[in-house]
Each structure stands twice: as structure tokens, then as C-alpha cells.
Symmetry: C2
Subunit: 334 residues, 2 copies
Amino acid sequence: MTTKSREIRLAARPHGEPKPQDFALAQVELEEPAAGEVLVKNLCFSVDPYMRGRMNEGKSYVPPFVIGAALEGAAVGRVAASNQSALPVGALVCSTFGWREAFVAPAATLRVLDPTLAPPSAFLGLFGVTGLTAWVGLWKVARLLPAETVFVSGGAGAVGSAVCQLARLRGSKVIASAGSDAKVVMLRDQFGADYAFNYNDGDPLQHLHEAAPEGIDVYFDNTAGPQLEAALSALKPRGRIAMCGAIAGYNTPIAGPRNLAIVIGKRLRIEGFIVSDHIGDFPEFFAEVGPALKSGKLQSHETVIEGIENAPAAFSSLLRSGDSHTGKMVIHLS
Amino acid sequence: MTTKSREIRLAARPHGEPKPQDFALAQVELEEPAAGEVLVKNLCFSVDPYMRGRMNEGKSYVPPFVIGAALEGAAVGRVAASNQSALPVGALVCSTFGWREAFVAPAATLRVLDPTLAPPSAFLGLFGVTGLTAWVGLWKVARLLPAETVFVSGGAGAVGSAVCQLARLRGSKVIASAGSDAKVVMLRDQFGADYAFNYNDGDPLQHLHEAAPEGIDVYFDNTAGPQLEAALSALKPRGRIAMCGAIAGYNTPIAGPRNLAIVIGKRLRIEGFIVSDHIGDFPEFFAEVGPALKSGKLQSHETVIEGIENAPAAFSSLLRSGDSHTGKMVIHLS
């Protein structure tokens, strides 16, 4: 007996902003799981800005997506058939097989989730790799201290909203930016930012001076571009930049910061990181984030889009400044 | 009895390349040293690229030079009259009073030098703050390992030639650039570079690929500009950049590196430093560099200019790419 599953494939490498014809919806027939394998029906998967880089040709820290193959990424689903006794039908699992309704894979490639800790989609967001990204960037890379001030760009996005909340949870002052006035309201009212601004409205450096006249200690960079340049100017001596993303340059090349030499006189440290190097920090992360999520001190913010056929448009909107999505962009499958 | 001394003052803040009229030669009469003071007659002083930044208005990590006052910087001289028994006539001392033939100052503001260790001018170069700058950048900031490869821009300059030699001394592979073919020959024949290139001749990234097809581990940045961009591309994963200088942008603004986002995927670390934060490392530095200097394994390279009246032109030439100076630019006073 086979199972039908639909999946989204990369049809062509996008030039600039991804277009509908760069993607293709296809249907496949899945065989029954062989020994050690399970059949998983996905409940949801996420679309993320970093995937834009994998759509290009050429070497990066992860291999490029293959044209004609389904797009990969984090997904949460339930085991629907099992040929591995340790992973029974009904178990909640996280995979990296991405944009598909169902798949068959060795049980050993899946991470088993505890469904009592959080709703399934939260394991894609604040309680998953997204939250860990924020946590690692803040505490392990930038080494933000409770008495310090952090500025995060893309503050209303998946990682950004986690940065705001986690920094606030430990007592830091949080400045956050987003690309629309509606998101600025959310940053203040829901994500806990002490000061929020629309980076399309006025000079980012003026906003930073107003928010923190004494300067900032840490910049959590999700965007690069003009906000990085402003942050370099606003950082105090011995400030740190955790470079997590550069969304301003994903579709089109951008200029580098003209004031980079400031790094010398202010003894700044700029450090890039990739969350997959830090998967070993999950236990420490869960210990802090789990109780705060259960008590309601932290919330996993999501924009939910229904149906796999709508994933390409949801992905493209992620990369557009000022679009209305906030938090993690989750594709829900019914 | 007074002593005559000539000094070079800042007459005007330079715009772009410093011009002769931005400087003024003046003569002063020095009083006899008061209690605790000494009169020092300088043997030599240095002119350094970082001084260009202090000629501008505005806050930096050191205060700007004052218009109408003598320029400051490192100088080595002998005590000619003493009103402090602990510092007798004849003692060799290092000061930060700069571009003057003689001065009177409290003995406590001077660093006493051991004349048996090296010739006086070497305390301005490899055996002084210049050498310490290279040493700190390599070992404390970039944490270069003996089996690794380092690229240094401005390799024929004061700090650059020290970087080449110190890295080679511990066994690292050294790639160095300079602005003329004559300097490239010196880099290979005298400063110990394994591979040297003229950055005005061809694409720096092509040179780096040829010198180290497997990539570089550390970039010691004295220039910023296109060489920084090339280094970002050539760095291996987990590579480090010690940002020490940005001479390409001292006279005129330059563009930032367009490929800075590479820092994320390659997990690079960029860190700026100022040697004055690391004066406490002098004993450890002397312990390594002293014996190597005595045995001839290290050499303090200098371009010596005779006479204080020639200091402004010597300084301006420092900032010109392709000029003929190499090593430390020392003004000798007779």
C-alpha cells in the first residue's frame, strides 16, 4: 500500500525575488516503511529566510537546494506507520525534510518531541531551532549581560521576536526594529521591546540615539545593510555584534558598512554563527525556556498559512520589507 | 639657563592628504627641570599612520591633536638634566611627547629603557609598541596557531613587517601584501613572507587563492578596503580578523566590504584592538622578542629620515600607497 504526498520542489534558481514559477507542486507515492523506518505525516513546516541562500548555486555553509527536488527545512509531524518499535505510531517528531505533506525516513534521522511541553508548531518557533538561535546568539556569541542594552533588527521576525523576549526575560533593555508601524506596535505590546522603531521611517541611528543615548552594548543582526551601519556607530566601546542573518541582501547585493573601521577604536567584536553548531546546547536552552513558556512569560509567535500550495508565496513574502508576517512563518497542513 | 628646542605643531586640520601648510615648525625655550622633572634630548621619534585620525576633529579612542600644539607620539631620548635622583643624566627613556627635539617632563611619565637590549630606534619599532601591536594582534586577538596561515596587508610597514617576522618565528605560513614591486621583494627576502604580492597589481583574491588554495586562517588588517573584502572571501571557516588599521580610508572615505555577510556562514570573528589596552603584556612580549632580536632571528626594519623639519613630509608619504618607505618611519635627530 502506498501513501500519496504532495511536496514543493525548486523548479528554477530565483534571480532576485523568488517568483511562483521558481517552485513546482508535485505529488509522489510513498512506499511502506522498510525495517527501521517510519512514515510521518507532517502537521506543519516552516519557511525561513536562510532558505533563500540555499536556492542559489554555489558553496555555502549548507549545500544548495537541488533543482527538481523537494525543498528541505524543519517540519513537525506524527508517526503514521512504523517499522521501528522504539518509535510508535502517534509519536510527535521533528525532521529536516521540509516542504512535504508526508515522508518515509529512518527513525534515527528524527528528533522525538514531548507533546506535553508545547503545541506542535512551537517546536518550529520559540521552542525549537528558532528559539535556540536567539538564545545562542545572545548568550554564547554576544555574551549579553542583564544590565546591558541590546538592539535587534528584524525584531518582529521569528528569531527577532525570540531575541526580544529572551533578552527581556533576563532583564536587559531591548531596542527592536521592524519594517512597518503595525509591527512596531507589536514589538512594544507583545514582544516586550522597551523601544521600537520602523526602520523605513527616518534614520536608524537617530532612533538608536533616542532609545539609548549612552549607546548600545550588543547588536543582534538579522538584516545587515543600513541598520548594521547604524549599530556600528551606536555601539559602546567593547560592544559585540552577533551576526545571524543578512536579509537585506538575500535577494539583491547590498553595500558594506562604510564605518567598519570603527571596530578598531571601539574594540568591537563581530562574530557570525550558525545554530547547527550549537545543537548540543538544547538541554540548557530547554531548561530556561521550557518553564517560561509554560508559565506564559514567553510566547511563540507565529504567522500561520494554511496548505502546502501556499508555501512559495509565504516564503517570498518573508523577504519583502514591510510585509505583514510576524514571528515564525508556519505552513499548517490539515 | 634655558634650552632651545624645535617642535612640529599642527597648524590646521588636514582635508584629505596632509599638506605642508597643515604643519608649522616652531622654536621654544625650555626651563630647567623642577623637582621630580628631567630634561630629555630626543634621539629619534616616529611618525605613524594612526596619527592621521588624531588630526581630525571629533571623538576617537584618543583625543584629537590640538591646533597650535606640538604633535604627540612615541620618542626615545636621553636625560640631559635631572631633578629626580632615580633618573640620572644619560638614562635612555621613551616618552609620548612626540615631535620635538627636547622637552622637560616629570620623570614618572617616562619609561626607562635598557640600552643593552637594542639600539634606541628599535624601541620605537620592533622592540616597542609597534612590535607589541603585532604580537598582541597575532597571539591575543586573532589567536594564530603555528600550523595556520596568516595574511597581513601593509606587510612592509612598521606593524606589518613585525607581523611577518613574528608569525614566521612561531612557524606559521605568512602571506603579505605591499604597494610596490620593490617592497614585495623585501617582504620575501627580508621579512620572511612565504608569498608576497603587490596589491596594486591584479586582484588580491586571486593572489590569495594562489598563495593558499586551501584558504587562510587569520587576516591581520592594516588597510581595510579591497584587501579586507578579498580576505573575507579567502578565510576558512572559523577564521579570524584582527583589525589593527584602516590606512586605505585615512585620507578619504572608502566603501565597506560588500561580502561581509560571509561572516555568518563561515562563523568568522572580526575583532578590533588598540595596543594601549595591552601594555601589561610587555614583559611576556620582551621575553619572546628580546632573545630573537639579539640572536638576529628578528630585525627592526626602519626608514630613517634626518631632521625634525622633514617629519611632516615623512608622515604624509606614509599614507601614500606605493611610496618607498618600509618598516618603522623614524625621524632621527642629531
